[in-house]
């Protein structure tokens, strides 16, 4: 296998992985305190692999999370600039994040454990 082939495989894998934990990352950010879309995007872009995130992809996920009852949203008028729509994590959202983090920790233990090599 060439280096380019491996890079292609890793690109594909990391793209799928990012989709998998995108919602968890959003919930984790909102669990730290209410935030509006632009702030959430700025925080997500700090996460590894999300530096080139297309910012518009965050909003449909936030809308879905709102429909699922994981977050609530309210428009707040600002003294300067346009009004902002703030998202707040709900109790269901916080419990869901907790469960997601539990799965993540178990997965982490399995994935990063170093099994002893079998000897003949």
């Amino acid at each position: 296998m060439t280096g380019t082939e491996m890079e292609d495989i890793l690109d594909r894998w990391s793209s799928q992985a990012r989709k998998g934990y995108f919602e968890m990352l959003l919930l984790a950010r909102l669990n730290a305190g209410r935030a509006y879309g632009y702030q959430i995007v700025a925080a997500l872009k700090q996460a590894p692999g999300f530096e080139n995130l297309a910012e518009g992809t965050v909003y449909p996920v936030l809308t879905r999370m709102k429909k699922d009852g994981l977050v609530t949203a309210e428009w707040v008028a600002e003294d300067t600039g346009p009004p902002r729509k703030y998202y707040t994590v709900t109790e269901l959202g916080a419990r869901t994040l907790d469960a997601m983090q539990g799965i993540w920790r178990r997965m982490d233990e399995v994935l990063l454990a170093q099994p002893a090599k079998e000897t003949s």
Binding site: Y36, G37, Y38, E55, G56, Y59, W75, G81, P82, K85
Partner: protein, 183 residues
């Protein structure tokens, strides 16, 4: 909440109008109030991003903010859906008629094997029109003879391949014409 983005240059307004047209198309499946709400949120985001960008020109700031946000695909031209519907139904008629002709050719191929003296492709003296017939034509010359069966099989195979191509193009649910038919 209804919001607008205040822009001062004609080029920036043109870019913004084009972006909103694309956004409306991308969100066309959302109910009206949800679509408006989503649009307001996008406007707030772009306004915030433009204010944060350290670029002197308004057009450059808008272009950069839109690129970072991601520009949705443009809606198709208005003529495409009606044209696709016409092509779709035309293709159904062509496939029906051509399919029948291919079935007749295959049937004649079978009958040629059973009755080689009668079935064939004939031409009358002094005429240029070819006649396919199940019966021996008095005064006409059969032109393919023993090549009738392979020739008809080749014509049928080519015709079937062409019909398959037409189906893929105009009738298959994943083909371009079917996709264009969707509003």
């Amino acid at each position: 909440m209804r919001m607008t983005l205040e822009l001062t240059t004609a080029e920036a307004r043109r870019l913004w109008t084009d972006f909103l047209r694309r956004l409306d198309w991308a969100n066309r499946d959302l109910p009206g109030p949800e679509r408006e709400e989503a649009k307001s949120e996008v406007i707030a985001h772009i306004a915030e991003d433009m204010a944060a960008l350290d670029l002197p020109d308004e057009v450059e700031r808008l272009r950069e903010a839109l690129d970072r946000f991601g520009i949705p695909p443009a809606p198709p031209p208005a003529w495409r859906t009606p044209l696709a519907i016409v092509l779709h139904y035309l293709a159904i008629m062509v496939m029906g008629a051509s399919g029948l002709v291919i079935l007749i050719l295959l049937h004649m191929t079978l009958m040629e094997a059973l009755n080689p003296a009668a079935v064939g492709l004939y031409i009358y003296p002094g005429d240029t029109v070819l006649t396919l017939s199940y019966e021996n034509q008095a005064g006409a010359r059969e032109i393919l003879g023993a090549w009738f069966i392979p020739a008809m099989l080749v014509v049928s195979a080519l015709g079937s391949a062409a019909l398959y191509g037409l189906w893929k193009l105009a009738l298959s649910p994943t083909g371009p014409v079917s996709r264009w038919m969707r509003p």
